[in-house]
């Protein structure tokens, strides 16, 4: 049973200036902390409040669209949900396997060939080597790259690389799927195939959280929404209500 619950989650992060990033500066800076000028020029780090008191709860079947301007906290919230960011304060409860399709080439190696990359990427996604090997045939067929899979990935065009990354990354369906913008891949022959596959993936996942700036995409895949503004959740509920809140 998949379930996500956030209770009053805050995320602060320190932003270090070039001065406070170094050990030498920090040590000698503190030793001379009566020097007002150094203080003023930002010796200490600045804190950015990326999320302030976000609370919500989602269950199986919820397709959540994250809505907000650039810098509103959408990516930060996705990182909190993926578990990469541990909240500064507040609780997060998550049941179910999570897969985040934010960087689909993560773990791939440009010097390795296509087959090795299927294994590398699969292991990074949490599969065993054996499971990865079993999925090779299906992935091979889906990419349509044929003999190219025997060649190092560095000679691939960006479209080919994306096809391979896409095919491996979407080979298993997680219970909770996190996405930052829609992923599209390759030429228009492949795009149709990719669209069908991502739609299946998104509808098979128990919970989907998708951040997007496109109302069409949000309407197509989501039924609920969250509107973020400067790190705060200003509205949540049915998708249409969210979109009209945000638009108006």
């Amino acid at each position: 049973m998949s379930h996500i619950a956030l209770n009053n989650v805050h995320v602060d992060f320190p932003v270090f200036t070039s001065r406070s990033r170094g050990l030498i500066n920090t040590l000698f800076g503190y030793a001379r902390s009566d020097n007002k000028q150094i203080e003023a020029s930002g010796l200490h780090s600045i804190n950015v409040h990326a999320l302030r008191g976000v609370s919500f709860e989602f269950n199986k079947g919820d397709r959540v669209g994250l809505i907000g301007r650039n810098g509103a906290g959408k990516t930060t919230l996705l990182r909190v949900l993926s578990g990469a960011y541990e909240p500064t304060s507040g609780d997060i409860q998550l049941t179910g396997s999570v897969s985040s399709l934010t960087d689909i080439t993560l773990g791939m190696d440009m010097e390795a060939d296509g087959y090795e990359n299927i294994i590398l990427r699969s292991i990074v996604m949490g599969r065993t080597r054996r499971e990865a090997k079993e999925s090779i045939k299906e992935i091979e067929g889906f990419t349509g790259l044929g003999e190219y899979l025997r060649l190092p990935v560095r000679i691939y065009s960006s479209g080919m690389l994306l096809r391979l990354a896409f095919a491996v990354s979407t080979a298993i369906t997680p219970e909770i799927l996190l996405m930052d913008e829609m992923i599209g891949a390759g030429d228009h022959h492949f795009i149709e195939k990719a669209r069908a596959r991502i739609q299946n993936l998104m509808s098979d996942a128990s919970i989907l959280v998708l951040a997007s700036h496109s109302n069409d995409i949000l309407r197509q895949f989501c039924n609920k929404g969250i509107v973020l503004e400067q790190g705060q959740m200003v509205f949540s509920g049915e998708l249409e209500l969210c979109l009209s809140y945000y638009g108006g």
Binding site: F16, G22, L23, S82, L106, A112, G126
Partner: protein, 264 residues
């Protein structure tokens, strides 16, 4: 604090259970280096071999000893020192080099420590071929004391694991630490008995060998290879260092483990 302790234990268990991931990443780090070269992994050993034999000849002249004694001594020392210094150097990029992983998913942080240590173990095994080659050439292979050596090896890697973990966090927060460590290691090479023997120092200068952690682990690993007894004091010092490193590791990670991702 209790919560952080639990999270740290989960992190360590996570590193343990996802050994496939770090083994695969660490292996790939090495494989990457020779994917485009014809003689492949042999390069690693060849590089070490050329330097060691080259300097070995000069060193034997310089210190007026015979090659038969000097070359195995220098070779074993150099290979072990390379291991220790590259653990410190590469420890600096443990998290910085893995930022895309750490920012994308809930992964155990110490998993990346294990990756760096595993990569260095593989590297060490490549270089160890040169040591065994030199020992065979001079007919000293049979003298290796396998028992102490096979105890010293894991102890060194446990210490190395803690060092990588500690240095990794500090170098993520303070970005000038890698440069500081590099220049520190250059000096350390001359202060550690790799090229010269501790007996060549005056009694007063013995202090730089007795209190130098690099010299302690060097002697721990090298003596069994050269068929010499490891003094009990050396074992005791090495275990004490591991204990201190473990305490520092726990103290730092309870404080900073969750901040690592924000520092990247």
């Amino acid at each position: 604090m209790q919560h952080q302790t639990k999270l740290l234990i989960d992190d360590l268990l996570g590193s343990f259970t996802s050994w496939r991931l770090w083994a695969s990443l660490g292996w790939n780090d090495i494989a990457k280096q020779y994917r485009r070269s014809f003689i492949g992994p042999i390069w690693i050993a060849l590089n070490t071999g050329i330097f060691i034999v080259g300097f070995g000849y000069i060193g034997a002249q310089l210190f007026k000893t015979n090659l038969e004694d000097y070359l195995p001594f220098f070779c074993a020392g150099q290979v072990v020192f390379t291991l220790l210094s590259s653990l410190m150097n590469e420890g600096c990029t443990t998290f910085v080099a893995a930022d895309t992983f750490i920012k994308q998913a809930a992964c155990s942080k110490t998993l990346f420590v294990s990756r760096v240590v595993f990569r260095n173990l593989l590297m060490f095994l490549h270089n160890a071929v040169v040591v065994f080659g030199v020992l065979l050439w001079f007919g000293k292979f049979h003298a290796i004391q396998w028992g102490p050596f096979l105890l010293a090896l894991p102890l060194t890697f446990i210490a190395g694991w803690f060092v990588v973990a500690i240095v990794g966090v500090i170098a993520t927060r303070f970005r000038d630490v890698p440069m500081i460590i590099t220049s520190f290691l250059q000096l350390l090479f001359f202060v550690t008995p790799v090229m010269w023997r501790p007996e060549q120092l005056t009694a007063r200068a013995q202090i730089i060998v007795d209190y130098n952690p690099f010299a302690i682990f060097l002697s721990l690993m090298r003596s069994p290879l050269l068929g010499q007894q490891v003094a009990w004091e050396v074992w005791r010092a090495a275990m004490l260092i591991v204990l201190v490193l473990a305490i520092v590791f726990v103290a730092i990670y309870l404080q900073s483990r969750k901040k690592i991702v924000y520092w990247l």
